[in-house]
C-alpha cells in the first residue's frame, strides 16, 4: 500500500505545521498547568515528604500540617511503647508574627521547632547536620533562600517573632510551603516563641519504625490504644496525601484548576481541529477522487487519522521539550513545579485525544463534500 498519509505529511509539512503547533501548545499548557498545580499543592506536604519520619501523630482529624493543634504527651509515650518504633521526636508547630526591618511591616510565619540532632527525623532531607547544629544557638532560625527577600534580611540578620528576638543563622532550600513563610528553629527556641500558649504540648510527634516493620500495621496498632481518641496516627504517605487532597479539593483552588484544564482541553481541541481541517481540506479534491474511484470513507478516515496521530505525536514531542525547558527554568527560580509519570501520561493521552478528535472532525468535512461538485 502506498503510504499516502505519511508521504503527504512529509511533502506538505507546512500545511500541517499549524496543527502540530496547536497540539504542542495544548500539551505545553496542560503539562505546565499540571506541574504548577502539583508543585504548589505538593508543597503543602513538603514537611512530611522531606522528613525521615514513618509515622505522624497529631490532633484527631487534622487535614493539613498547618492546621495542627497541641496534643497530649501520652501520644509520645504510646508511640515509645510500641515494639516496632525505634525513635520518637516532638515537632513543635506554631503561628508567628514576624517583624523584620522597619520598612517591611509584619509577615505571617509558621515556626517549626525540631530536634536538632544530626540524625533528627524532621527535615532530614533538606537540612544538613551542619545546618541543624547551627539551630542550637539560642534564638537561631533558618529560613528558605526564596523567602529571604520577602523577609527583608540575610544571614546574620535579626528580627522579632511574637515579641522575641531571633537571628537568621542559616538558609535552607526546599523549605518553602503553601500558605506562608516557614521558619525552622530548635524545639527550645520554638517553646520560647509560643509564649507558653501550648502548655509545653506540641502539635505533632513523628516516629521512625524498625527496618522491615510495616508502618501501616504500627499506625493501626497505635490508633487502637487507650489514649487513641486524643490523637490520630498517620503514615507518611497517608498524611502527605491528606494534605494535598485538602488543598486541592477543600480550598476551591483545586477545582478551579481542574476547570481550567477542561478549558485548555476544549480550546486546544477547537484550534487543532480547525487547523487540521484546513490541512485536510487542502487535499479534499484528491480524496474526493479516491472516493469516486471506490475507496470508502473508512479508508479515507484512516488516512486522515494517521495524519492526525503523527501531528499529535510531533506536537507532543515539541510540547514535551518546551515543557521540560519551562519546568527546568521554574525549578531554578524556586517556583514549585512537579511532574510525575502518571501526570505526564494523562496529559499525553489528552493531547493525543485532542489530535485524534480533531482528525475525526476533519473527516467530517470530507463526508459532507458533494463529489459531483468537487469533481471538476
Amino acid at each position: 500500500m502506498v503510504p499516502l498519509a505519511r508521504k503527504t505529511l512529509v511533502h506538505e509539512w507546512r500545511r500541517f505545521l499549524p496543527s502540530a503547533l496547536a497540539v504542542a501548545f495544548s500539551g505545553l499548557l496542560l503539562l505546565v498547568q499540571a506541574a504548577l498545580v502539583f508543585g504548589i499543592f505538593n508543597s503543602s506536604a513538603v514537611y512530611i515528604r522531606k522528613s525521615a519520619a514513618d509515622l505522624w501523630l497529631g490532633y484527631p482529624g487534622t487535614q493539613s500540617i498547618e492546621l495542627g493543634r497541641p496534643i497530649p504527651r501520652e501520644a509520645e509515650i504510646g508511640a515509645l511503647m510500641d515494639p516496632d518504633v525505634t525513635r520518637v521526636e516532638p515537632f513543635h508547630w506554631i503561628d508567628g508574627d514576624w517583624r523584620g526591618p522597619v520598612d517591611r511591616g509584619g509577615v505571617s510565619v509558621f515556626v517549626s521547632g525540631i530536634d536538632t540532632r544530626a540524625d533528627g527525623l524532621m527535615f532530614a532531607d533538606v537540612l544538613s547536620p551542619d545546618l541543624r547544629a547551627k539551630l542550637d544557638e539560642p534564638d537561631g532560625v533558618i529560613v528558605d533562600r526564596a523567602d529571604l527577600s520577602k523577609l527583608g534580611l540575610g544571614i546574620g540578620g535579626q528580627a522579632v517573632i511574637n515579641g522575641h528576638r531571633v537571628r537568621v543563622v542559616g538558609v535552607g532550600n526546599g523549605l518553602r510551603a503553601l500558605g506562608g513563610v516557614n521558619i525552622v528553629t530548635s524545639l527550645a527556641t520554638a517553646r520560647r516563641l509560643d509564649n507558653g500558649d501550648s502548655n509545653g504540648e506540641v502539635a505533632y510527634y513523628v516516629a521512625k519504625v524498625r527496618d522491615g516493620a510495616d508502618p501501616d500495621a504500627v499506625a493501626r496498632r497505635m490508633s487502637s490504644g487507650a489514649n487513641a481518641p486524643r490523637f490520630e496516627v498517620w503514615t507518611k504517605p497517608a498524611f502527605a496525601h491528606r494534605a494535598v487532597m485538602y488543598w486541592m479539593f477543600e480550598t476551591g483552588a483545586g477545582l478551579g484548576v481542574l476547570f481550567l484544564a477542561i478549558v485548555v482541553f476544549i480550546v486546544g481541541a477547537v484550534i487543532t481541529s480547525q487547523t487540521l481541517m484546513g490541512a485536510v481540506a487542502g487535499s479534499i479534491r484528491e480524496y474526493a477522487t479516491l472516493h469516486a474511484l471506490g475507496i470508502g470513507f473508512d479508508a479515507l478516515r484512516r488516512v486522515v487519522l494517521t495524519q492526525a496521530a503523527w501531528v499529535g505525536a510531533f506536537g507532543l514531542v515539541v510540547g514535551g521539550l518546551v515543557t521540560a525547558a519551562v519546568v527546568f527554568a521554574a525549578q531554578r527560580r524556586d517556583i514549585p513545579v512537579q511532574l510525575d509519570p502518571a501526570t505526564i501520561a494523562i496529559c499525553a493521552g489528552l493531547v493525543m485525544a485532542i489530535a485524534l478528535l480533531s482528525g475525526l472532525a476533519a473527516v467530517r468535512t470530507l463526508r459532507h463534500a458533494d463529489p459531483a461538485l468537487l469533481l471538476r
Binding site: 499516502l4 512529509v10 511533502h11 475507496i295 463529489p371 459531483a372
Partner: protein, 238 residues
C-alpha cells in the same frame, strides 16, 4: 449487443421550492462497451450531473441506472463504493493528483485498496503508465509534470484498475490542443483495446471528431444522438 450502461427516465433537480431547477428531465439512454461516447452541450445543461448519476456518485430523484446489469439504486452506499472500486474509472478536468506522490504511486494507490500486493500494484501501475506514454516520467511528482502529463497520469490511475466503465468529465479543458489530442486518443484507444464503456462529458468541440458517438444535450435532455461518420462500421439504427 446490449448496452453496458443504461439510464431509464432519469430526473434530478437542485434547490428547493420556487428556486428549484430541473437539471435532468426524464432522460433515457444506453451506452455500449468498446465505444467512446461524448456528451456535449453548454455549461449548465446537466451533462456533469448525468455523468455523476451514471457513475453512481450521485443518486437521481427519479429513474434508474443499470450499470453492468446492476441496478445502482438497490446498492447500499458501501456496496456502491465497492462497485465503483471494481468497475469504474474516473478522469477529471483538474487531474486531482496527490502532490506528495510520484506518478507510479498515484496509479498504484487505488490498486492497494483493491487488495493487490504492493509488488503487483506497482507492476500494474508501470504497465498503465507505459500505455499512456509516460514510461520515462514514472518517478516524477505532479509539480514536475506538464498539464498533459498530469492528465495522462490521471488516466493511467483510472486505467490500472482495468475498469469496464470509464468516466471523463471535461478531461481536456485544461489542456492545449496537442495534449488534448493525446488525451482523447488515449481514451478512445482504451475503449477499443480494453472493451471499456468510455463516457466523456465535454463542451470542447475538438473532441467530437474523435468520438464514436456524439450526444448533444441541452436543458436536461438529449437533443441529438449521432454516430461518428468516421466510423462506418457502426450501425446508426440501433
Amino acid at each position: 449487443m446490449s448496452p453496458s450502461l443504461i439510464a431509464h427516465s432519469l430526473g434530478k433537480s437542485f434547490g428547493s421550492g420556487a428556486l428549484r431547477t430541473d437539471v435532468l428531465r426524464d432522460l433515457s439512454i444506453g451506452f455500449e462497451a468498446g465505444e467512446l461516447s461524448l456528451v456535449s452541450g453548454p455549461s449548465g445543461c446537466g451533462k456533469s450531473t448525468l455523468l455523476a448519476i451514471l457513475s453512481g456518485l450521485l443518486r437521481p430523484d427519479g429513474g434508474r441506472v443499470i450499470a453492468l446489469g446492476e441496478d445502482l439504486a438497490r446498492l447500499a452506499p458501501v456496496e456502491l463504493e465497492r462497485f465503483r472500486l471494481r468497475h469504474t474509472g474516473f478522469v477529471f478536468q483538474g487531474f486531482n493528483l496527490f502532490p506528495a506522490l510520484t506518478a507510479v504511486e498515484q496509479v498504484a494507490l487505488p490498486l492497494g485498496y483493491l487488495g493487490l500486493s504492493n509488488e503487483v500494484a506497482l507492476k500494474r501501475a508501470r504497465v498503465a503508465l507505459e500505455e499512456v506514454g509516460l514510461a520515462s516520467r514514472m518517478q516524477l511528482k505532479p509539480a514536475e509534470l506538464s498539464g498533459g502529463e498530469k492528465q495522462r497520469v490521471a488516466i493511467a490511475r483510472a486505467l490500472a484498475k482495468e475498469p469496464q466503465l470509464l468516466f471523463a468529465d471535461e478531461p481536456t479543458s485544461a489542456l492545449d490542443a496537442a495534449n488534448g489530442q493525446i488525451v482523447i486518443d488515449t481514451l478512445h484507444r482504451i475503449a477499443r483495446t480494453h472493451g471499456a464503456t468510455v463516457l466523456c462529458v465535454s463542451h470542447d468541440p475538438r473532441l467530437a471528431t474523435h468520438a464514436d458517438r456524439v450526444l448533444a444535450m441541452e436543458d436536461g435532455k438529449i437533443l441529438s444522438d449521432l454516430r461518428s461518420p468516421a466510423d462506418p462500421t457502426k450501425d446508426m439504427s440501433r
